[in-house]
């Protein structure tokens, strides 16, 4: 039964969406905000699409949900998603209301919704997803997410027991989430198994949550990602249903459960993301051939990763590196260090733009950020640009990175001029998501310098 309050909220939100569109603006947040302000249980009154898929976790939500959406669309499904909007309650409400008629009936068969972990408590009480893909639970912005036990507490409290979970088995925190859910599918990776049992960065789980015994690692890829088992009670990494068994960088493929897929991006975190998507899509009945076909045209959104030749033997790779998120930026540093080349130059702009405007950015995350990949001999120049550059200078010194290969520039604008183009061919521009416009400006300036 639709309440008058819901109908009023729906009309108001639809009017707002129409108005925004007439003004040529996105209607991906405000209409949802109006809806949930007027009717906090608004989402619950909407009729669920035939299949409702949510994607959550610390890193990889957008890449995964975008890929799932594009595959499903390529199979002929009509899909709603919030990839261009917000992943908090208002953004989710906006996506779902735009997919609904005035009475809340959905227009599209499938909804693929990216959900911010912390917003789970305001979303899952009102909707029960058929599937929830959870990529990982990692150390994130400490101001927003505090710590992984807090995020686990939220997800455990919010996730409906009827949902089927698609979980990263190799993340011991993620794989044990929401024990109330009996239907669980695990994905993970055997390929490129590391030979070390200790990661370089801080782990967010060391002791068994069940008995307090030490978790002993068979191997650790990074942070707490790997295979572990409690020395006392056997609590540990579950068996996987979908496993990446090989990554063939030369031929650009990776293999899941014996079947090959195009390697869209060879960063290991993205291979995990794609494996999670494959696990979900296969479970939904999408065939290997259909997924392969979608992979052929798939690419990481250009605002997140783009690589191109600049001419003169130079290349530019731009990689989104979320500031305030030490694991995400550490993984990017690690990725760049492993990229081929002996004359790499990094321009790093990862300050929090909002936090540096009449504010002082909380820089504790820089002390969780693993700078050690920057010791790589193939990296010849590293430029940190932005107000917090002197903090990076201290961290580089603490890490033992030679001062001669570093530069610290307080202004982002014009920082590209610090790149020594005579010496370095492979340029990497790492930028926070709120510095995308600045990154594009610097990209343009760099191309100008290169005559590209």
């Amino acid at each position: 039964m639709k309440t008058l309050r819901f109908l009023f909220a729906m009309v108001a939100a639809k009017c707002a969406a129409l108005g925004l569109r007439l003004l040529g603006r996105n209607a991906t947040y405000l209409p949802g905000l109006i809806a949930v302000k007027l009717a906090p249980d608004f989402i619950g009154h909407l009729k669920k699409p035939e299949t409702l898929i949510c994607v959550t976790g610390t890193n990889g939500k957008t890449t995964t949900s975008n890929f799932i959406t594009s595959v499903l669309k390529s199979t002929g499904k009509r899909v709603t998603n919030n990839s261009f909007g917000s992943n908090v309650q208002a953004g989710v409400a906006a996506a779902l209301l735009l997919n609904a008629n005035l009475f809340g009936k959905p227009k599209n068969d499938v909804a693929v919704i990216e959900v911010d972990e912390r917003s789970s408590l305001k979303i899952y009480p009102y909707i029960t997803p058929d599937y929830i893909v959870i990529n990982n639970i990692m150390r994130d912005s400490l101001k927003r997410n505090a710590h992984t036990e807090f995020i686990s507490f939220i997800l455990n409290s919010a996730i409906p027991k009827e949902s089927t979970l698609i979980l990263n088995a190799d993340d011991i925190i993620c794989s044990h989430l929401a024990p109330q859910c009996e239907k669980r599918i695990y994905f993970g990776m055997d390929a490129e198994k590391p030979d070390h049992t200790e990661g370089m960065a801080a782990k967010d789980i060391v002791y068994c949550p069940a008995c307090g015994g030490r978790l002993v690692a068979e191997y650790i890829r990074y942070n707490h990602i790997g295979r572990v088992k409690c020395e006392r009670c056997g609590y540990g990494t579950p068996d996987r249903d979908f496993t990446v068994t090989a990554i063939d960088r030369e031929n650009g493929t990776f293999t899941v459960n014996g079947e090959d897929y195009k390697l869209v991006n060879d960063n290991i975190v993205n291979v995990f993301n794609f494996c999670g998507a494959i696990a979900l899509l296969t479970t939904l009945g999408v065939t290997h051939a259909e997924i392969v076909k979608a992979f052929e045209t798939a690419e990481i959104v250009k605002t997140r990763f783009v690589s191109e030749a600049l001419g003169g033997g130079r290349s530019l790779t731009m990689i989104l590196s979320k500031g305030q998120n030490p694991v995400a930026v550490s993984r990017v540093f690690s990725y760049v260090s492993k990229c081929e080349g002996d004359d790499k130059c990094l321009l790093v702009m990862v300050d929090d733009k909002a936090d540096n405007t009449n504010n002082v950015e909380n820089t504790c995350w820089l002390y969780d950020l693993d700078y050690r990949p920057l010791l790589d001999k193939g990296i010849g120049q590293i430029i940190f640009a932005g107000k917090r550059c002197y903090e990076h200078q201290l961290r580089c010194a603490m890490t033992g990175i030679p001062a001669a290969k570093t530069a610290f520039v307080p202004e982002v604008a014009g920082s590209v001029n610090a790149i020594d183009l005579d010496r370095f061919k492979d340029i990497y521009l790492l930028y926070d998501n709120y510095l995308l416009d600045d990154a594009r400006r610097e990209e343009k300036a760099l191309k100008g310098r290169c005559g590209a």
């Binding site: 036990e149 949550p209 995350w365 200078q393």
Partner: protein, 242 residues
């Protein structure tokens, strides 16, 4: 010189371990003993020059209290004896009289070495900054403004007028109604300032080293001072939000 890091593998939420990495560079000849949660702490049978513990999850906090409870009297005698102890974030709460975990509805007695209490609410997070100075005039002069960050579920309660670690120039003290931050009893320091307080404050690092009888410059002093000065300028700016 020996410095014991208590439970560093799990009490390290906000970059806290870089305090110890910074101290290793500042005191290259010092020995660092890392004690794991199930192990008997080094301080039980030895007298370290310094004890350090960083921020932890609420669940870990309860385990730490259990782990340290058998050694409460030893810790008390080390405090009486003037051993330098630095507890950052919520680590100091383990020494408090009591912690109320409002969300989880759990009441836990701490080690009762500090006459404060803490109330922890997972749905009431405080994020902020800290700008303060040590209470003594000579110390404040030597150390200068202490800068840092706060991010916590807990608020602290009790009387610390004669035992504050910092008099706040800007930012919260024990709680929103207080301008006196943390607890200082001889060389025991409990501060809710999180994470890398030592590299963020090189002069404070030098001051703490002096409490251990060592007068040395903080590691990478020029770079650390430059970053600190920049932060002080920004934090003292009245336009800066706290």
């Amino acid at each position: 010189m020996t410095i014991e890091i208590l439970f560093g593998e799990t009490a390290n939420l906000f970059g806290d371990m870089q305090n110890m990495e910074y101290l290793k560079k500042t005191l290259p000849d010092a020995a660092f003993v890392e004690t794991a949660l199930p192990d008997k702490p080094y301080f039980v049978d030895n007298t370290p020059d310094m004890l350090y513990m960083g921020a932890m999850t609420e669940h870990t906090q309860r385990r730490v209290i259990e782990a340290l409870a058998p050694y409460r009297e030893r810790l008390a005698s080390l405090i009486d004896g003037g051993t330098l102890m630095l507890f950052t974030g919520n680590a100091g709460e383990t020494l408090f009289r009591h912690i109320s975990y409002v969300t989880e509805k759990i009441e836990t007695d701490g080690l009762d070495l500090v006459p404060l209490t803490a109330k922890t609410d997972l749905f009431d997070r405080y994020n902020g900054k800290a700008l303060g100075h040590l209470p003594g005039a000579a110390e404040a002069q030597a150390v200068g403004p202490v800068t840092g960050f706060r991010s916590q579920f807990s608020r602290w309660y009790g009387e610390n007028a004669d035992n504050a670690f910092l008099r706040m120039d800007r930012g919260m003290g024990l709680n929103e109604d207080s301008t006196l931050e943390g607890w200082r009893d001889r060389n025991l320091i409990c501060t809710a300032v999180i994470g890398p307080i030592l590299p963020l404050n090189p002069k404070l690092t030098e001051y703490l080293c002096s409490l251990m009888g060592v007068c040395v410059p903080a590691a990478f002093r020029d770079a650390a001072i430059r970053a600190w000065e920049q932060r002080v300028i920004e934090m003292e700016d009245p336009e800066t939000r706290f």
